[in-house]
């Protein structure tokens, strides 16, 4: 493997109770890649992220993240989970949520210190949420919550950012802002974003992979309309097996 590989999956197999979730997945992501993974619900997208995070150990195959095993590299991964199921009434402020992202740096038994708070303020300013630092998380709009969780992922200065269905809770007006933020971030780190929203993914990412248990990976060139079209030949077929509606994109 080359030293540039931020993520490398070789022949990865995962199944739950005999139902395959990932079959023979190969994937390589460079340090400045912005990879979009699309596919139907239940196609293994979240599983793929969990394999990269080391939360799931594949039955077969090898996973290398930032040059070592996923659990060793975890503190250099920023993770934005799919936040449809967390408790919005939870008594925690935006600042406290972002500080959780410093846990890996601080470790057990030591309280968060001034440098943690400064780092948190910096990322909150960056995502435009500093004025909400003391707000309870449930009082925010979907887009603001999203920004908070991105800030939590960024506060550890990650080399790899993983986003699980990031557009699910964001209203369309906020989406453009969100992608502009990602546009800046991809200069600093590798990004893997998982989504079933084909339209959203295809416009901003550099590479696209289609995942429906098996992974179909589409090179690393700049995206042109021709490539997009070629790319979508596969998901169109694949997604036809699932039941989510798909759009064919022309101009942006």
């Amino acid at each position: 493997m080359t030293s540039h590989d931020t993520v490398r999956l070789e022949n990865v197999w995962v199944s739950y109770n005999g139902t395959p979730a990932l079959e023979g997945v190969n994937l390589a992501v460079d340090e400045h890649d912005f990879l979009g993974v699309i596919g139907p619900n239940g196609g293994g997208k979240s599983t793929l992220l969990k394999v990269i995070l080391g939360l799931i150990t594949p039955q077969r195959g090898s996973v290398t993240v930032l040059g070592s095993s996923p659990d060793r590299s975890r503190n250099r991964i920023g993770y934005v989970p799919q936040h449809s199921d967390y408790d919005r009434d939870f008594p925690v402020s935006v600042m406290e949520v972002v500080l959780m992202g410093r846990y890996g740096k601080r470790g057990m038994l030591k309280p968060y210190n001034e440098s943690d708070r400064e780092a948190a303020e910096k990322v909150l300013a960056r995502v435009g949420m500093l004025s909400h630092a003391r707000t309870q998380i449930g009082q925010l709009s979907g887009g603001q919550q999203q920004r908070t969780f991105i800030a939590r992922a960024l506060v550890s200065d990650p080399a790899l950012l993983l986003l699980d269905e990031p557009t699910a809770s964001v209203d369309s007006a906020m989406q453009t802002d969100f992608y502009e933020l990602l546009e800046q971030l991809k200069k600093e780190m590798a990004i893997i974003m998982v989504s079933h929203d084909i339209g959203a993914v295809s416009v901003f990412v550099d590479k696209i992979a289609c995942l429906n248990v098996q992974l179909y990976y589409h090179g690393s060139r700049e995206i042109t309309p021709e490539i997009l079209e070629a790319t979508y030949k596969c998901p169109v077929q694949l997604i036809a097996h699932g039941d989510i509606p798909h759009r064919v994109l022309k101009e942006h």
Binding site: D89, L99, M100, R106, G138
Partner: protein, 277 residues
Amino acid sequence: MIMFEAFQFEFMRNALLAGLLASIACGIVGVYVVVKKIVSMSGGIAHASFGGIGLGYLLNFSPVLGAMFFSLLSALTMGLVTRRTRLPEDTAIGILWALGMALGVIFIGFSKGYAPDLMSYLFGNILTVPLSDLYLMAALDLVILVLTAVFYKEFLLLSFDEEFGTVAGMPVNALYLVLLCMVALTVVVLIRVVGMILVIAMLAFPAAMARQFTHDIKKMMILSVILGMIFTFGGLWISYILNLASGATIILLSGLALLATYIVTGLRHRMKVRFTP
């Protein structure tokens, strides 16, 4: 003036001290029980401790110490079983809950003679808390306070987003066991005051009520300790005047107060919706 007369009795002073110590434990640990949504898990731990009470009667040692041993054992077992096996959490809770109680009944059946003040372990009797139990309660409160201070940021992350905690490299399963053991210790602190059957209400009510008033977890803890004291002392006072069982009166008072806050917040929310242009 009745209350002041009552103060002069030593058993009343012990009762107030017991109420204070119980409020500290249930206020702090109750907040985690409520926000981490482990109310039924805590109920299981509390009820399983009955096995230890029975063992205490059988082998002639303090039933409170037996309860501590059993509640810690059941906390660790429930924690490990739900984390390490595929057994669904509510099934595991149900099994251990019933097993602990069944063992208690069998142990008591084997022990010679009758079981004195068994009812006070089941339903609590704040007026009969012996001094030795007060020392134990104070020691356990101290353990709970220290653990909460030491693992404050860990417990917050554990309760809010366990998956993120794992990703951040936190030993979530070990911390979860520590939290369940704190619940077990709280059961022991509360057992003399409200009894093992009613412990779960004392863990959940003050914290659930405090949650209606604040979004800050530290303030929630302080508030629920204060509410715990109000309920314990208020319940004790009412039970003294009306000659009722103290544990049950404390629980009924806190249950009614919680219900009242829910109704008031519900009405206020409705008014807001109606009058917002």
